[in-house]
């Protein structure tokens, strides 16, 4: 094994240094190394396969600059392709002109929905908007209490009902009350659920239908593995998602699941969560994420530099 991916790639392209074109033959080993890296970053296998297909198509026949090494050219193509797939960028919450904009957060258990409610509220407060939070998780012990504490910390109202077992009603009532009070944004915190839990997925679809949120965001744990394709697909089919938030990217997870989620849903990635505090929410940047997933930053940088020099000469 090589110490780093970069070493592995350099070795794969030894024979090709500084000459000719990228061909199927001379790229094979390099492509395999890239593929393996994506798998290690938790990009789902079918997504990796399709992605590698695009990359080799784009790379085939590409002339390698004299000043550039072939592995640099290939990684550059991979990186650009990642950036383009992860985009376009749309890190704003679209608010309606009149009436309350309803945002619903959904996702698997423990992915970070309730915390993200607080973070979105904080973001809105910074824009001088005071949202209402609705406690629609009637499953998890102390979920309502958790949202109430968050509301208190932020100074925003939290709508909850103690005895109602029906989240659809709670959401409807919460939205009605928030609208009556002139709230411009209502954020619904729903219970975590498994994508294969048909009953709970149907419940989510009922909230969607009866309450009609303007924005539905899927909250995905940054440490998610191969199953991301399945769960994201199931949520998107039940709900028609409008955006994705990936959480827990403050650690060392490479977050390749984001590529899977983007691939199956096609909806924009809005924000990434980088901590437990309310201000730990960042607008999504495809370049940063591509670099993180690929972890070949040194090669990407060298390739960019070589291209810059060539461009300048021309």
């Amino acid at each position: 094994m090589f110490d780093s991916l970069s070493d592995g790639l350099q070795s794969a392209f030894k024979s090709l240094r500084g000459k000719g074109k990228l061909t199927e033959g001379n790229m094979r080993e390099g492509l395999e190394i890239v593929q393996r890296s994506l798998l290690e970053a938790d990009v789902s296998y079918p997504v990796v396969q399709e992605f590698m297909g695009h990359v080799s198509e784009r790379a085939l026949g590409k002339k390698v600059l004299l000043s550039l090494r072939p592995e640099q050219e290939l990684v550059r193509i991979v990186h650009d392709e990642l950036v383009s797939i992860l985009g376009p960028v749309d890190p704003s919450i679209h608010l309606k002109k009149d009436g309350a904009t309803i945002i619903m957060l959904c996702g698997l258990q423990g992915s970070g929905k309730t915390t993200t409610c607080g973070k979105l509220a904080q973001l809105l407060i910074e824009q001088k908007i005071k949202p209402t939070l609705v406690a629609a998780d009637l499953q998890r012990p102390a979920a309502i209490e958790q949202l109430k504490v968050i509301g208190e910390q932020l100074g925003v109202p939290v709508y909850s009902e103690t005895d109602n077992k029906n989240p659809v009603q709670v959401c409807k009532n919460g939205v009605a009350k928030a609208e009556a009070e002139g709230s411009r944004v209502v954020i619904l915190d729903t219970a975590g659920r498994l994508a294969i839990d048909e009953e709970l997925m149907a419940e989510l679809a009922r909230i969607d239908k009866k309450v009609g949120p303007d924005q539905v965001y899927l909250v995905v744990d940054g440490m998610t593995g191969q199953d991301a394709v399945n769960s994201a697909d199931a949520f998107n089919k039940s709900l028609e998602l409008d955006g994705v938030v990936m959480t827990k990217l403050d650690g060392d997870a490479r977050g390749g699941a984001l590529l899977s989620v983007k691939h199956v849903t096609g909806v924009p990635i809005k924000f990434i969560g980088t901590g437990e505090h309310f201000d730990a929410l960042e607008p999504f940047r495809p370049e940063g994420m591509a670099g993180r997933i690929l972890q070949m930053g040194d090669i990407v940088a060298a390739a960019a530099e070589a291209h810059r020099i060539v461009d300048e000469k021309e």
């Binding site: 798998l39 290690e40 938790d42 970070g112 994508a195 440490m223 650690g251 060392d252 699941a257 437990e276």
Partner: protein, 292 residues
Amino acid sequence: EKTRRALNTDIRDLFKDEGRLVDDEFLGELFAKLIRTDMGAGPAEELRDDVAKRFRGRKVGLDEVLESITAQTQAMLRQDAAPLNLAGKPSVILVVGVNGSGKTTSIGKLSHYLTSHGKKIVLGAGDTFRAAAVEQLTIWSQRIGCDIVTGKQGADPASVAFQTVDKAIETGADVAIIDTAGRLQTQSNLMQELDKIRRVVGKKVEDAPHEVLLVLDATAGQNAISQAKGFSDAAGCTGIILAKLDGSARGGVILPIRRQFELPVKFVGLGESIEDIAEFDADSFATALFAD
């Protein structure tokens, strides 16, 4: 032995016209099935290459090959019986893991499991950070009907742990289970906090903590390896609880984890209700790993 097995398979092939040629396409499909479990590219390549070596150019069924891989995986995962160490008086169990992996819920279910095995439990609400973490564990303690020791929001978790063990001694409880706040293995300050909890309970009861259980989320991918390493280094984990195995994720990342660390999987979490916990069984786990 080898020739006889090869012979057997060859004869079977003759009678099985729906068998498939083990070629690149077949190996690719197999690889997809292996990767899907989250076992990681390394182990998946090994298993695939092994199949290629044994069967390439021959006709076999994917099921047949999966069966043989299942057997191999079972062998890899089989571990010495790993019952909880409950030798302490009281025994102290510390539960650790990344944010949202399922610690608090697993504690609730584990407590119920131990209670139904005749043990008297005291819970310690060592997560003094997350909003309503104390309330969440309190609800579990009410469901179980056991004592709970809590501190104020922001209190020192080590002091809550200390008081929990105190309470266990005072009430003659068999087991003290201490919840901790979720943290990422890269946060060195927070990881040191776990070590402090260890030391504090160790001063109170000999050999405590008797168990440090790492709760891993079965939906996690390769980062779980880094979690196993980080938490083991900082908190001396003695076992794993693999939570959320009731979903469509397979939890195959415990394969590389079992390989790299001396960490037995002790329990699996199978849902959010009090009964949804089971002792880990390598054979049925491996079978479920490749099931459709």
